[in-house]
């Protein structure tokens, strides 16, 4: 599959020197709390969307309303759907919130991580703008040179409707699950990325620097299209905690990797601990393509997220490398789903999770090899480390193999930190706390070394912080 040549992208973001940057769109509003057909239509009208997108939103609404809540996974019973505002205008985002209302632990983490002043307000949700315009523009210039399209999703729909229509909701259909349906109904923000054939995007695309507050919303929708032979790395999120007043975050990420392309999608999410983070992510990998989900889950009250890869073409490869850190009061229910649907495909899933305080981390995964997907090779490893007697961990791997010509292995271990490991480090002069944090960092090493340098530095500092005061 290939597409016709695309014109160089024009930015949909206007830059106003005095006020930072904002989207060129009509006056936005913030919808009333609760969800209804009227609100979905409002959202679509505000964005001036084509009829087919409104149609999809309405289908999403219908599916959301008719589907039951999942009877598995984390406890979602406290989500008050009727109290949520499903669309918040950018400038409203800072208006009601006060820096003083931001929880202390968030402010402390900012200080400890050395987050610059300007960034702090943005991350705390009390600033609607983020002054990273210089970085943003230099990224855009480089993209233009290579013919890469990198816009927010609204912009993508506006300027490249045909391309979006071809792939939107194809990897994750409207009715896939309750929260994907919700996202389809009320999505706003997120990224649209198209990489032309043979193009290797040199630097990682970092959503963090592109978006403004509105796009950092609850219902992001991201679509990444890597054309034949393309190569791109996309990074979402940041290690610093993001304070969100709205507690339901339900994002959808769809990736299509055409033959021989490569897409790596790195996520580091550290939502404040009032957030329900329910995400559906799925990639299609065609012949010879490879896709990696590098997924870091820290923070949030509840995370339910199972990045998936469908290996649809011969020789396709998939990898999911995920970590989850569940501290007190947190439940990380994460995992991976890989389907081998073509011959000669291979995959690995590596999941590492830690439970601290009374936190709970669960691995939930699917490894499926369809009949006819000959010569499939897959290896899954889930390791869980519990740091306290009250923490807990669960593992629920589902392995379904319909092809004899497959080599499949799965292993999982649960343990605590060995006493001898701690004693050794303490005998070298480290406090027990520091020793534990060193071991935890070592446990996550495989994941951390896959991050770009500045993230891995921050990641290490963040782990230290998380471990502080946790030994008792």
């Amino acid at each position: 599959m290939s597409t016709e040549a695309i014109q160089p992208p024009t930015t949909s973001i206007e830059f106003d020197y005095k006020h930072g940057f904002h989207d060129k769109e009509k006056a936005a509003i913030t919808t009333d709390p609760g969800l209804s057909e009227k609100i979905v239509r409002q959202i679509s009208a505000l964005k001036n969307e084509p009829e087919w997108m409104l149609e999809l939103r309405l289908q999403g609404l219908q599916a959301f309303e008719s589907r039951p809540m999942p009877d598995w996974g984390a406890d979602l019973s406290e989500i008050k759907f009727d109290d949520i505002r499903y669309y918040v205008k950018a400038t409203d985002r800072g208006a009601e919130d006060n820096w003083d209302d931001v929880p202390e632990y968030i402010k402390n983490t900012f200080d400890r991580l050395g987050i610059p002043e300007a960034e702090k307000k943005f991350l705390a949700g009390v600033g609607a703008q983020y002054d990273s315009e210089v970085v943003y523009h230099s990224i855009q210039d480089q993209m233009a040179e290579q013919g890469v399209i990198y816009l927010d999703m609204d912009g993508g729909l506006r300027e490249h409707e045909d391309l979006v229509k071809k792939f939107f909701a194809k990897m994750i259909p409207v009715n896939d699950n309750k929260f994907a349906a919700l996202n389809t109904a009320v999505w706003s923000g997120g990224s649209f990325v198209y990489v032309p054939p043979g193009v290797k995007v040199d630097l990682p695309l970092q959503a963090y620097f592109r978006i403004n507050a509105e796009a950092a919303g609850q219902f992001e929708r991201t679509l990444i299209i890597a054309d034949e032979g393309a190569d791109v790395h996309y990074i979402e999120g940041c290690t610093a905690p993001v304070y969100a007043r709205d507690s339901l975050h339900s994002a959808v990420v769809e990736i299509i990797a055409m033959p021989n392309s490569h897409v790596r999608y790195t996520t580091i999410q550290n939502w404040s601990n009032n957030v329900y983070n329910l995400v559906t992510k799925r990639a299609f990998a065609h012949e010879g393509a490879s896709v990696e989900w590098i997924d870091g889950n820290i923070g949030s009250k509840v995370t339910m997220k199972y990045p998936a890869i469908h290996l649809l073409g011969e020789g396709a490869r998939g990898e999911v490398l995920s970590i989850a850190y569940a501290n007190s009061g947190q439940h990380q229910d994460a995992g991976a789903k890989i389907v081998h649907a073509a011959p000669n495909t291979s995959s690995t899933i590596t999941s590492k999770s830690i439970g601290n305080g009374d936190g709970r981390s669960s691995y939930r995964g699917l490894l499926k090899v369809d009949r006819g997907a000959t010569d499939a090779k897959s290896f899954v490893r889930c390791d869980a480390m519990l740091l306290t007697p009250e923490s807990r961990t669960d593992t629920y791997p589902y392995i379904e193999i319909e092809e004899e010509d497959a080599q499949i292995g799965h292993e999982a271990t649960v343990s605590k930190i060995g006493d001898d490991e701690i004693f050794y480090l303490m005998s070298r002069g480290l406090s027990e706390e520091k020793a534990t944090s060193v071991i935890v960092t070592g446990f996550f090493e495989e994941f951390i070394k896959e991050l770009p340098m500045e993230y891995s530095v921050e990641m290490n500092r963040l782990i230290e912080l998380e471990m502080e005061g946790s030994i008792g």
């Binding site: 009949r371 807990r392 961990t393 593992t395 589902y398 497959a406 271990t413 605590k416």
Partner: protein, 439 residues
């Protein structure tokens, strides 16, 4: 007293008729009727139940199978057994609903060992019976519908009680047979070992050649008191048209050893639940199984290693060999509670697929609620290692020969878990024949 065969289908009347025929005390009939009520109030498993999603009942409903009829003893029921004769200290054969004699060596009876059918146990040892035999009618696992029916309709059955300190050197053997199509056989075995007792118990199930469908609903309850050692070997060798529903529950108390080894060789369709429960410290358990499937056969194993006591150990290994269009389902759960400090639990499910239309579903699960433990699980699915085959063929084996040898090596470790050489050898013959297949 002759039974009116028109009331052979499961019903409250049949429950009463069975109880009457076996001359049971009234309290026992009441227990049966309570179980019948639970059966009626429990819905049949549905495809939307997570634990039944992968196993279609194929239209089988136990109420359509005759559950009790007088029958003649089959001429030589022991010929259905694949195990050797004459090596046991106790044995019994039940043919369909008719319970044969429970033979046990005199010196064991003198030592206080009880080995008898359930009704005799109810009458002569009612205290023990009430304490241990199907004491609670509520079962919350996936076989709830079937175990309640078993508690209502069982006949014959076996009760083994080994008093404190008695160690039985030779094994005990129970053979349950099924001789007729269109029938349902409901059998129940209860094994109780007091402190430091020891026994090897072999439970075998076999059918005459069948022409059409039949079902078996069997229940086994095992209690091992402090320091007891129980080896339980289960050989399921039902005919090719049988649907087999088996519920085995074992409780291993302080410092006990409970080893359960299961060979699933027969049946068209099976759902086998195995619950290991370890409430006190220091117990240890090996739960191993081998499942051989061909044709369109389908067996679903649901196992549980439930650790409550500290310093407990369990090791579960289930291996499957699949051919043709067979399908194996494995749900394993390691459940470690907060109090189970310093416990270790291991679980492994391996499947060898020998055809491209077979299918293995493996769901090894864990829920760990405390940190001072070591738990691992693993699963592998694949065909015979190509390198291994190549090596053997280069040594002169034909492809068939090389495959057979590889399969033998694969199943051997489960056979090695049988602690009696004679029994192991007989099983080996039957297992190898079935595993290697007719080519």
């Amino acid at each position: 007293m002759p039974i009116d065969t028109t009331i052979g289908m499961p019903s409250a009347e049949l429950v009463k008729a069975i109880s009457e025929h076996q001359d049971e005390p009234s309290w026992l009939l009441e227990k049966r009727l309570d179980a019948w009520a639970i059966f009626q109030n429990t819905p049949m498993p549905a495809r939307t139940d997570e634990m039944w999603r992968r196993t279609d009942l194929r239209g089988i409903d136990p109420v359509n199978f005759v559950a009790f009829k007088l029958s003649e003893m089959a001429k030589e029921p022991h010929k259905m057994s694949i195990l050797p004769e004459g090596i046991y200290s106790g044995n019994t054969v039940q043919t369909d609903w008719v319970c044969g004699e429970h033979c046990i060596e005199d010196h064991l009876t003198n030592a206080g060992v009880i080995f008898t059918d359930l009704v005799t146990a109810a009458i002569n040892h009612s205290e023990l019976f009430r304490q241990y035999v199907m004491p609670s009618q509520t079962n919350t696992n996936s076989l709830a519908k079937f175990t309640s029916l078993n508690a209502a309709l069982w006949s014959g059955g076996s009760f083994l009680y080994v008093p404190e300190g008695v160690q039985i050197d030779l094994p005990l053997h129970r053979l349950q047979t099924m001789t007729m199509a269109g029938t349902g056989v409901y059998s129940h075995t209860t094994i109780v070992l007091e402190k430091s007792a020891k026994v090897l118990f072999i439970e075998e199930q076999a059918s005459e050649a069948q022409t059409s469908e039949a079902i078996s609903v069997s229940g086994v309850d095992i209690y091992a008191a402090e320091g007891a050692q129980l080896d339980y070997v289960h050989v399921q060798n039902w005919g090719e048209h049988t649907a087999a529903f088996s519920n085995v529950r074992a409780v291993g108390h302080r410092n006990s050893t409970v080893n359960l080894t299961e060979f699933s060789l027969g049946s068209a369709l099976g759902k086998h639940c195995l619950d290991g429960y370890f409430p006190d410290s220091g117990s240890s358990s090996h739960m191993w199984g081998l499942t051989l499937l061909d044709g369109t056969r389908h067996i679903d194993h649901e196992t549980k290693q439930h650790h409550v006591g500290p310093h407990t150990f369990s090791d579960l290994m289930y291996k499957g060999v699949l051919r043709d269009r067979a399908r194996s389902v494995f749900y394993g759960m390691i459940l470690v509670e907060e109090e189970a400090h310093q416990s270790n639990s291991y679980q492994q499910n391996d499947n060898l697929l020998l055809s491209n239309e077979s299918r293995a579903d493996s769901i090894p699960g864990m829920e760990i609620k405390t940190y001072d433990v070591r738990c691992t699980h693993g699963a592998t699915v694949g065909k015979i290692d190509a390198d291994e085959l190549f090596y053997l063929m280069s040594r002169g084996f034909t492809r068939e020969g090389a495959e057979a040898l590889a399969v033998r090596g694969y199943v051997e470790p489960v056979l090695d878990r049988v602690p009696n050489q004679d029994i192991r050898n007989s099983l080996e013959v039957a297992v190898f024949e079935k595993a290697v297949g007719s080519k």
